[in-house]
Symmetry: D3
Subunit: 290 residues, 6 copies
Amino acid sequence: MSLPKKILEEKLRKIVEEDVGHGDITTSHIVSRGTTVDAQVMAKEKGKIAGLEEATVLAESFGLKTKPLAADGQKVQEKTLILQLEGDAATLLSIERTLLNLLSRMSGIATATNLLVERIRKAGYQTRVASTRKVAPGLAYFDKKAVMIGGGDSHRWGLDDMILIKDNHVVIAGGIAEAVERVRKNVSFSKKIEVETARLDDVLEAAQSGVDIVMLDNFTPKQVKEAVRLLRKRQLRAKLLVEASGGITEHNILEYAAAGVDIVSLGEITHSARALDVSLEITKVKKPHR
Amino acid sequence: MSLPKKILEEKLRKIVEEDVGHGDITTSHIVSRGTTVDAQVMAKEKGKIAGLEEATVLAESFGLKTKPLAADGQKVQEKTLILQLEGDAATLLSIERTLLNLLSRMSGIATATNLLVERIRKAGYQTRVASTRKVAPGLAYFDKKAVMIGGGDSHRWGLDDMILIKDNHVVIAGGIAEAVERVRKNVSFSKKIEVETARLDDVLEAAQSGVDIVMLDNFTPKQVKEAVRLLRKRQLRAKLLVEASGGITEHNILEYAAAGVDIVSLGEITHSARALDVSLEITKVKKPHR
Amino acid sequence: MSLPKKILEEKLRKIVEEDVGHGDITTSHIVSRGTTVDAQVMAKEKGKIAGLEEATVLAESFGLKTKPLAADGQKVQEKTLILQLEGDAATLLSIERTLLNLLSRMSGIATATNLLVERIRKAGYQTRVASTRKVAPGLAYFDKKAVMIGGGDSHRWGLDDMILIKDNHVVIAGGIAEAVERVRKNVSFSKKIEVETARLDDVLEAAQSGVDIVMLDNFTPKQVKEAVRLLRKRQLRAKLLVEASGGITEHNILEYAAAGVDIVSLGEITHSARALDVSLEITKVKKPHR
Amino acid sequence: MSLPKKILEEKLRKIVEEDVGHGDITTSHIVSRGTTVDAQVMAKEKGKIAGLEEATVLAESFGLKTKPLAADGQKVQEKTLILQLEGDAATLLSIERTLLNLLSRMSGIATATNLLVERIRKAGYQTRVASTRKVAPGLAYFDKKAVMIGGGDSHRWGLDDMILIKDNHVVIAGGIAEAVERVRKNVSFSKKIEVETARLDDVLEAAQSGVDIVMLDNFTPKQVKEAVRLLRKRQLRAKLLVEASGGITEHNILEYAAAGVDIVSLGEITHSARALDVSLEITKVKKPHR
Amino acid sequence: MSLPKKILEEKLRKIVEEDVGHGDITTSHIVSRGTTVDAQVMAKEKGKIAGLEEATVLAESFGLKTKPLAADGQKVQEKTLILQLEGDAATLLSIERTLLNLLSRMSGIATATNLLVERIRKAGYQTRVASTRKVAPGLAYFDKKAVMIGGGDSHRWGLDDMILIKDNHVVIAGGIAEAVERVRKNVSFSKKIEVETARLDDVLEAAQSGVDIVMLDNFTPKQVKEAVRLLRKRQLRAKLLVEASGGITEHNILEYAAAGVDIVSLGEITHSARALDVSLEITKVKKPHR
Amino acid sequence: MSLPKKILEEKLRKIVEEDVGHGDITTSHIVSRGTTVDAQVMAKEKGKIAGLEEATVLAESFGLKTKPLAADGQKVQEKTLILQLEGDAATLLSIERTLLNLLSRMSGIATATNLLVERIRKAGYQTRVASTRKVAPGLAYFDKKAVMIGGGDSHRWGLDDMILIKDNHVVIAGGIAEAVERVRKNVSFSKKIEVETARLDDVLEAAQSGVDIVMLDNFTPKQVKEAVRLLRKRQLRAKLLVEASGGITEHNILEYAAAGVDIVSLGEITHSARALDVSLEITKVKKPHR
């Protein structure tokens, strides 16, 4: 999943601009015009790398040369060099923090996601690990791309994506069936429909209304199991996907997988992921010729 | 610390726009024009609230009425109502997630910061807890404001703020004294100057160069203590502030405070803070009159 | 389908800004400050009205009062008043053309769409009439919203919506099955998958690959019929939606509907729709009090 | 008429961005990184080509190589190749639709304009065919440039261009002479002044007020002839340009030309022009080396 | 000349945003939430006021109440109160400098322009005083509006306004007549054409080519007189406007007026005008109720 | 002090865009596609050059080649060539005025600043000459960078820079000591604090409150001297910087320097500086090959 470079460049430019303000005053006063450097970026702890594409596009669009030493999605051990940079020293110092912040946030999310995905795969399940819209404000693209790199599912990118009828929609519509009917009447054939449910009755009502996906919100693993059993009994299970969401942690995630859902979704992997420790070191300074 | 409302509104509009894309298709299909609702926002776990100003400005700039039930900086217990909202149902549903994401991120950062600040205060130290520029990309304003609400110090907002001579600047300049001298020659009188140091020798070199603040980077508490002792011995301690940074955690933070620094700074409180669990519930639906 | 007002206002402001440039020099030189007017907007020919929401939001966000005399989606006869406006004369004259351009374009698209939808409904078919991404550059939101108001289906809003594997994707992947497989491996569960096909063999290959929708591109009605027959024979028809696209006109659209597809899509209704004739007349001038 | 490339690139980037949203999900899942393609753009029907400059700047600014096979303003027969493209496959697929939408809209407008221009020239008249401000919202630059390529006159680009006193201005000023006088008092010497008139009396009043151009709005050819005769009689004709507008179609345009006006203007050529059918085909796929 | 308020607000918001950066830290730390103030703006020296509309729109769009005590275009004596403001104290302090900078720059330009206009009028000439495009970068709207308020002529607002064939265009075209001919062939009827000339021969060549305006660039008053005489002799004077530009100062401007030109234009009034001294004083502080 | 090129390019693009509007119509009609030129920029009067970096980045980002013949900060005599340009003729003509406006404004500011700096240095003082926030609206970056090139001090770049407690802040806080205390309680350690004072008493109050800088606002040189004497007497002088502001001109600036302040600041050098006369001449026209 990648934005066209030209589009991504503009997103990244705005982030740097916010940090630079009226200028990098430290660098401006210290670095002589024409000084160039070689530098390298290191993952200081082990994890799954994400954000290398963004880091590369950022650096190149600011005129630096790049040489990736790893790939997005690659698992690395601690103290692994992942990117080499070369070019104007002042520019590099001015974008260093933005570049590292992108890499550390995205790698942190990918690492957290991957941990859960692997736990599930190793236990022999095919359950998908999905993110939610609980991202850092304005950073859905980066956060969800990192989830995908970690082996997770992006879920909806935004409100114009799949139909997701949540509790508050149901309250306003006056019931699940009524809400689904309102949607069906006008929604484009190109959209899937998912409904959030809070109780067993809701699950059946949703399934019978013909939606594509039912979300079990804040169900315990046991309740999930019961819901899946009921759906099977009514021969509704095969026609839809079942997603469990709410209260899922790394500790109980296998119980949810075992309960027979297709998807588990967690806000944690985006809104509370630990950043991966990443640093940049200058390895060579080349003074300008006079 | 607050941006003028008109400026903040534009920042928030862009975040909503990113989420809404071509439109909130679920809400558009379900909510009848003219439907209004009452809703309330609840902190589901205990913590220090931040982001209420942003949430309020966001909601009001989209035409909703707001009534804060708590204040930024207030500590709340779990299940505390913090904000009431009233107005157009479709609008409320379209901004709900952005509003909650702001509140949960900012409150999470404020809570994490406050934990450290209180630990230090309770132990009887005046040491400041500062953030770094390791924020979510593009979110320095929100992240650092939350740090301040949590009782922390914003540190630099961006690269045009204080002079901070880091390791890579020193490498390029060829030494701390040389770097400081280059800065001094031209920098505005309105700027403070800080230098990052990695060894005891550096600390003295920096202090003797007459900077305002010395940062001890990745020093152990013991090394910090030694550095402070040396500065005192040379009668340099009173003339400058000392900041410890790198490797500081909630577990060892008191040792750093005890070692005699003025400031401890941590990336953790911004780049890896757990979001506070916050939710929105519709309490009343008012159908449009026909 | 509606954007939150605050988001729509910004889109509309940019359009006015493009027209106004350094200022409406005619109006600035003629209209005395404080002059207010009443005005009315008339549909001069019959058609299906669309764009009233946009016109209203535009006028109100520029400080004018509005009173709609019709509703989006309403069919009107020629010379029907559809909107009253009141307020600052200079402002009204400066946004008049933009307001009318929105109304006439959107109503033209809604009218053209509705003509086809009604033809199909009257003939007793349930076939959907869908738009394509062949919109005026940058105007997908307005064009596709108008299609929906006309009773049509928006189809994909943009490239981040449903998966649509087109001829050029198939060429690159080296075959339909291969392309579908690549998508399936990583795509979010929240996305539907559609494949464009050019021949009968392709249709079967696509259907067997388990996609949600098959598009028959540039098939004659007869070929469509044959494709549908084959799908039924292989018991694949019920599992997917069938869309016909390319070469469909108001003249042959019933043949396509009769051939048994679920959806017909046409670029014409967006890229070549005739604008509806709409005009604005000032009905009262109120001079400023001195 | 061309914007500097750097300015045009930004306009085009925004259009692509609107279409791409969070990313071209189909392409991202199918096209392997490093895959490049050759492609060609074909005019599938005959017409006058416009938008090649925009298509070229768009493609090149996204990193593709281009080779135009035709020129803006050239008349082509059906099935004429007009542009070759080469480069990154994913990028090309992501901008394909925007590129084609620009070409088909602009070529459609140029073709419609040119039809009228040629009809007039063949009949031996020098009458100019001008557009109006009835363009697709926000697309004045592209629409009017296409009119010029078609041999037409751009007329005003926006409200800050020539003074054009319309019916509603006259209503507010309280008469044509009064409106013209208000303008004359302050307007820059660099601006021409045109007045819209609805009756013969208005025409004379406008001409006597010394404006540069008189627009005859919704006059029949016969009324136009009479107006021109009167202007000649009063020796006012030579001092001004006469524009006919409103109700002009391809069927009666020669009657208007024959009636002796300098300019005929029509909204049709921009707000209701049929798009020219243009398509893009990939001719070669080059897999990445591994 | 005024932009629609909504458009102007956005221009002004961006200017404030540039100044505010991450926030007005002084005000944020000092002013208690809810504090409101009364304030007044005073012209400390005499001059012609301009920018009051901008100041008012700025203040109101940030939520302050305004009461103008003077009008744009009014001449005031030193120490004249020109604007009252009331509202949120923090907001007022954050926009104070931007508001004053607009007023002082625009009033300075209006005052400088008006000085020249009055000198000419008092001497009995009707010669117009026009600005050039030598404005502060990006501030054409504000600078030229101020010129108009000062009684001057805006001249071209930008490059899409009138045709102005300058020396460098002539060099490229290979002569004045050739340049004019190239323009005439395609330019819209809505545009005037002006040519810059450097010698007497050029003046005649330009006049004979049928342009609307001839600019005499860097002619002495004596040379201007000779040029005007020649134009009269050849009966070309009445058909065109004559503009003198280059080397005109307040000292020799009457000589140029006397030499018989219609327009004199000067960069000085925009690029080097002295700002008018304007200040803001808080007259009342109203503490928030607790 | 330099913004990263990519960031600066965007600022400059917006300025050109404002000037170009719908296009450079003169150039579009005259210059044949493919024509290239050589050109040179000349300082027509003597002064200190600033803006060459901006001019170079502007020209290169629009695709022209540049060769600086001088350097920012260099003093040149009248008629000195300072920059060579080469490339597409149409592009060059479209950016010419913006490029010259940047150079002439920035060089004008640098020259005015330098005049004062040299006067002070020649008289043997080390007093800094600082600018204020009285810049052209929105142009702080360019204006203050020019001040620095002229040897001056940028002072605060904006409201998020140093704390500067002004008269109006003091009024609201109810006193200098109270205002300083409010700031101290929460402000980041990274910020300096300055207070504006109007009387001798204020100066002492400010100094005793422990601020970093005291600004003497509208003090006569004699009053300044007295203030400095008092500060020395109380042994407060060494602990802080003293800035004089208000009423300082080139005529009395030495008296202020002599009075013993560290900094003098003036709005004049930014809000009222005379632009330096700079022009661009095309030296060679290269026709396109056919």
